[in-house]
């Protein structure tokens, strides 16, 4: 059975903020495990993330401000095979972000930052090989500042509700999969190099994940449960990039463990994933990730 899957060239895009110890850290997403027997696909994905944040007061003797942030993203995305060795991915997100404090609730919605990613096949075991197969992909892309700055979120902690970063970012991505007919392991790495916007520069981001998966197939149906671990690291932001003023209250790491399942039937794919944080130290410990889940529908052609 000719059925090679490409796993999770994890592409990362970010909804970072210009608020040093606010929530809304990185927004990472995985492409998931995608069948390679169709050249192209288009999909819609819903993602939910939540955080609790503490913002220490800048005023002496004043109490800290607590808030909860909820980020919901609906994203249209797709893949086109340009050639046997080159694939193009595009992402167009729409976001609904909400922040709740003891005294207020603010919601911002709008288009996020769109992205384009080109991935090349570096190593691929021929389909004729029956045993262990390898697939190594690597590529790069850009994230464009297509989101509009929302004027209702320009004060205080609400800044982290913006649906985009305002900057052009460069994405480097690598993905390696080893598998046999019934199971496999995928490792993916991505690194985002940010650029300054209005003299503010978000810290570069690194993300790495390892996912183990099983593969069951009956007739036109295929089921793929998976479990993994992910580590996201964000460097500090520059709040005055021309002067190289680093804001050490920003950045940090979050590590998730996740469990997911993918279901394929003919040209349709359904994928869902749930992740909970296991270790984190973000914004000097002032931001705590709560949970993250996503669900998506794919159409292959």
């Amino acid at each position: 059975m000719k059925f090679i899957t490409t796993i999770a060239l994890v592409f990362t895009y970010y909804t970072s903020v210009a608020c040093d110890v606010c929530g809304a850290v990185s927004n990472n997403q995985s492409l998931g495990i995608l069948p390679q027997y169709y050249k192209h696909f288009v999909g819609i994905q819903y993602q939910y993330r939540s955080f609790n944040s503490v913002h220490p007061s800048v005023f002496e003797g004043m109490p800290s401000q607590n808030s909860s942030e909820y980020y919901q993203t609906v994203q249209i995305w797709g893949k086109v095979n340009i050639s046997n060795r080159l694939q193009l991915f595009a992402f167009v997100p729409y976001q609904y972000n909400n922040q709740q404090t003891d005294v207020s609730s603010i919601s911002i919605r709008g288009m996020g930052d769109a992205s384009l990613l080109a991935m090349g096949t570096i190593v691929r075991t021929p389909d004729s090989v029956k045993n262990v197969k390898h697939l190594l992909l690597a590529g790069a892309g850009i994230k464009a500042p297509t989101a509009n700055m929302n004027k209702t979120a320009t004060l205080g902690n609400a800044l982290n509700l913006q649906t985009g970063t305002g900057s052009w970012d460069i994405v480097l991505s690598g993905n390696y999969t080893i598998r046999n007919n019934k199971s496999g392991v995928n490792t993916d790495v991505s690194y985002v190099i940010t650029t300054p916007s209005s003299n503010y520069k978000y810290g570069n981001r690194f993300s790495m994940g390892i996912t183990g998966f099983l593969w069951y197939k009956t007739g036109n149906w295929a089921l793929q449960p998976q479990v993994g671990i992910r580590y996201d690291l964000a460097l500090h932001d520059y709040n005055n990039y021309s002067q190289k003023w680093l804001d050490r209250n920003t950045g940090g790491y979050i590590s998730y463990t996740n469990i997911g399942i993918q279901l394929f039937h003919k040209r349709i794919g359904l994928q869902t994933n749930y992740a909970i944080p296991i270790w984190h130290n973000y914004a000097k410990g002032n931001v705590k990730a709560i949970s993250r889940y996503d669900i998506g529908l794919l159409y292959f052609f």
Binding site: A18, C19, D20, V21, H55, P56, S57, V58, F59, E60, M62, Q65, I122, V123, T154, L155, G156, N157, L159, L172, G174, Y191, I193, N199, Y200, G203, N204, F206, L235, H236, N239, N240, Q243, K244, W245, L246, D247, R248, N249
Partner: protein
Amino acid sequence: MKLFKHFTVIILFIAFSGCQKDNYTPQPNKVKINISSLYDGQYIHNRDTVWLEGKISYISNLHGYSIVLKNKEQNKELFAYYEHTHNNEVSFKKYWINTLTDSTNLLLLITGEIDHDGNNGIKELNLVSQP
């Protein structure tokens, strides 16, 4: 071998781009505070609506600002407003109604906070309340 060479170049590039230079030096003297609605030594009278209006700017992100009006002789706060912000420039427009019936000296303090370490720029304005 070629693959290894490419991999090495990418890792070196990532390591280089991950280096973060830090020249941060707080410069509270670069906080500019302009109070447009009042001047130093201004007299205000009982029942006057006193507008506290102006602009605060800094060469980088401000982290917050405060407006405090005090009875200078009693060191008692008559009005206080605190705003957490993350802009290079903020405008403020607040008001206070003078309910004081005695003649007394007041002090208006506008503070622009530039980080979470207590660095700030302050502008003071002396006012005189009269019945």
